[in-house]
């Protein structure tokens, strides 16, 4: 039981890296305080080590978010090879998935609790220092406790949010109108309610979010059930056994399309639809200028994630060390992968700067600073012909080597 759960927990070296970052940031905070902080007047003293103190809560939340995505990916829903393998085993959706859970489980409270505790201690300390330095003599115990409690909950909330977000993206990726249209409709409804009354809006919004989560959850199980059923009795013989041969797909008189082709063909329309959906939902929130820095960091993180997804498929001979060794620092055909992340960061930051200088209103600039880079990240791919002939991500096709089942 524990081993089953532990298989879904990020690896030991990653946990160690997280601990090292937190400890180093704390040590840096102490060192800075000892070196300069205590010589500076109290109201400003906190500013000396505050940047180091916020590292730990930030890293904890980031780790929780990464764990949320990792958890969903633990059941590689888009991995045809995994499905095929499961189709040869006695597994059914009633059983636990092998190699750990793919959804949040109660045991997650332990690692998330540890992350929450680390974040709470740091945020509590920051709040205490603030109360000591800026409002000396005034008791602010409640403020400290409130801040610590919020920080304690933050990793859990981030974990659930990223898991649900990833799950929803997967469901949307399957292009299920029964999920997409209601969620879009609910967003529009939320906008309308906003004009009626704030209380009604908040209540309805909460109910709708819960309904949305439930719908995604149900839909995921339906997908899993279908996946399994199709491997039992489907007797359709697909041409070329589902092998994703670009030549076959381009020339096939039957118009057979593999999952890879279907995925690429609908990519642009899907990303547009996702963009509209996000626009509807994100414009509901009251964006403020304090959030600009957070959004700027988010844009950078999106770009890094996009880069990591693609760069992960690169061979080691394209690493920085290898390039230095071969004296070929730039490999143009491969280095195209750096362009989309670069454009993502540029567009995100440009929109935020426009919002900061009030050229564009914050309620538009902030959502767009999320949506536009996201769409660039999704859409910025070569067309199928170029992709199939030149891309280094050949293993994507290899996932469908065996017989596919529609």
């Amino acid at each position: 039981m524990n081993r089953w759960y532990l298989q879904s927990v990020p690896e030991r070296d990653k946990a160690l890296m997280l601990a090292v970052i937190v400890v180093l940031a704390d040590l840096a905070a102490v060192a800075v305080w000892l070196a300069w902080g205590r010589w500076i007047e109290r109201p400003s003293a906190i500013m000396v080590f505050l940047p180091f103190m916020v590292v730990a809560p930030g890293v904890c939340c980031f780790a929780a978010g990464a764990a949320g995505i990792f958890r969903f990916r633990r059941f590689p829903t888009d991995c045809g090879a995994y499905h095929l393998w499961l189709g040869t085993t006695p597994w059914t959706p009633k059983h636990r998935t092998p190699f750990g859970p793919w959804h949040p489980v109660l045991k997650d409270l332990i690692p998330l609790g540890i992350l929450g505790l680390v974040a709470a201690v740091h945020v509590g300390l920051i709040a205490w220092f603030q109360s000591q330095s800026m409002y000396a003599g005034v008791p602010h115990d409640m403020r400290i406790i409130d801040s610590a409690l919020c920080a304690m909950m933050a990793p859990l909330v981030v974990f659930l949010a990223t898991w649900i977000g990833t799950a929803y993206l997967f469901v949307a990726w399957q292009w299920n109108w029964s999920i997409y249209v209601p969620v879009l409709g609910l967003g529009v409804l939320a906008h309308l309610l906003f004009w009626v009354s704030e209380t009604v809006f908040v209540t309805v919004l909460l109910v709708l979010v819960v309904c949305g989560v439930f719908a995604v959850w149900k839909r995921l199980f339906t997908v899993l059930n279908r996946l399994n059923e199709s491997t039992f009795t489907n007797l359709t013989v697909t041409p070329i056994g589902g092998t994703s041969s670009p030549v076959f797909e381009l020339l096939s008189p039957r118009g057979y399309k593999s999952k890879a082709v279907q995925f690429l063909e609908l990519l642009r329309s899907k990303s547009l639809a996702v963009g509209i959906l996000l626009l509807v939902w994100l414009t509901i929130f009251p964006w403020k200028s304090e959030m600009l820095l957070l959004l700027a960091i988010s844009g950078l993180v999106f770009a890094m994630v996009r880069l990591a997804i693609v760069a992960d498929r690169h061979s080691s001979h394209l690493s920085l060390a290898a390039r230095w060794g071969t004296r070929r620092l730039i490999v143009p055909e491969y280095d195209k992968i750096f362009l989309p992340p670069l454009y993502m960061v540029i567009t995100s930051w440009t929109l935020l700067v426009l919002g900061y200088f009030k050229v564009v209103s914050l309620s538009v600039a902030c959502p767009l600073s999320i949506i536009v880079p996201l769409m660039i990240g999704i859409v910025w791919n070569p067309d199928f012909e170029r992709w199939s002939l030149t891309t280094p991500v050949a293993y994507f096709l290899r996932g469908n080597v065996q017989q596919s089942r529609k």
């Binding site: 089953w4 690896e11 040869t88 085993t89 039992f232 070329i240």
Partner: protein
């Protein structure tokens, strides 16, 4: 017992399997041999339920493959299929993979842990058992795949090219001995494919030779060798499938010399 009756399969317009029928009793090892591209893997895929035959029926221990959910689940419980290039979760350790697969087949925990240890030891994977599979070499991947198939304790083992894929001599010996032990002492049934007859001669009780998707011969190893008037299975296969190879080689060298 495995029964394959009148199986046809094709990819697009290209026929791969044509009227394949045979029966294999429990406790026997059947080696499907033949040149590359003659349908060995496709036949094994059909038996494993990964590919659906265009025509024909596969019966395993009295249950029809892909006939109903209940029958299919029962077959899957009794069968393990290891493709030539199996899928591995890259972020999982070798030990966790083997244990996870064993759990999936419902092997009792104590026996599962013990068996896993023994398998990792015999395939010399102890030292890297707790490393991620993504860091394994091709041969080590092959070995961990074999371990995961063997740990299931399934009564039918379907192994696609178990002796290829970079297995070292120790690994080859280990898998051969284990397969012999399983069929002789535990009454398990094994179907494996190989393009190289020498490798299967030692372990196979029966041989099924495919040529261009058709069943050329299905008999015991001894009978195949005797019928072909050969000294080994390799020679028998050469005589059966490549009778012209010797002449073609001679012709090739004549051209080489004259040019």
């Amino acid at each position: 017992m495995i029964q394959v009756s009148g199986v046809y399969h094709h990819y697009g317009l290209k026929p791969i399997l044509r009227d394949i029928s045979f029966t294999l009793n429990a406790g026997q090892t059947l080696a499907i041999i033949g040149p590359n591209g003659m349908g060995k893997t496709t036949l094994l895929n059909v038996i494993a339920g990964v590919a659906c035959p265009a025509e024909g029926v596969v019966t395993i221990n009295g249950l029809n493959r892909r006939a109903s959910v209940e029958q299919e689940l029962a077959i899957r419980q009794q069968t393990v299929f290891l493709p030539a290039e199996p899928w591995f979760p890259p972020t999982l350790t070798g030990r966790n993979l083997v244990l996870g697969v064993g759990e999936l087949w419902g092997v009792p925990t104590r026996r599962l842990f013990d068996h896993t240890e023994r398998l990792l030891h015999v395939f010399q994977l102890n030292k890297i058992a707790d490393s991620n599979i993504s860091g394994y070499s091709t041969g080590q991947r092959k070995k961990i795949g074999l371990c995961s198939a063997l740990v299931t304790e399934a009564s039918v083992l379907l192994l696609d090219e178990p002796f290829s894929g970079g297995l070292d001599p120790a690994g080859l010996t280990a898998i051969k001995q284990i397969l012999k032990h399983l069929t002789e002492r535990q009454d398990r049934t094994v179907i494996l494919t190989s393009p190289v007859p020498e490798l299967v001669e030692e372990v196979a009780d029966e041989v099924l030779i495919l040529d261009d998707g058709k069943l050329l011969q299905h008999d015991t190893v001894e009978n195949v060798i005797r019928n072909a008037d050969a000294k080994s299975l390799d020679e028998a296969l050469r005589k059966l499938i490549f009778p012209e190879t010797e002449a073609e080689l001679q012709e090739y060298f004549v051209h080489e010399v004259t040019s």
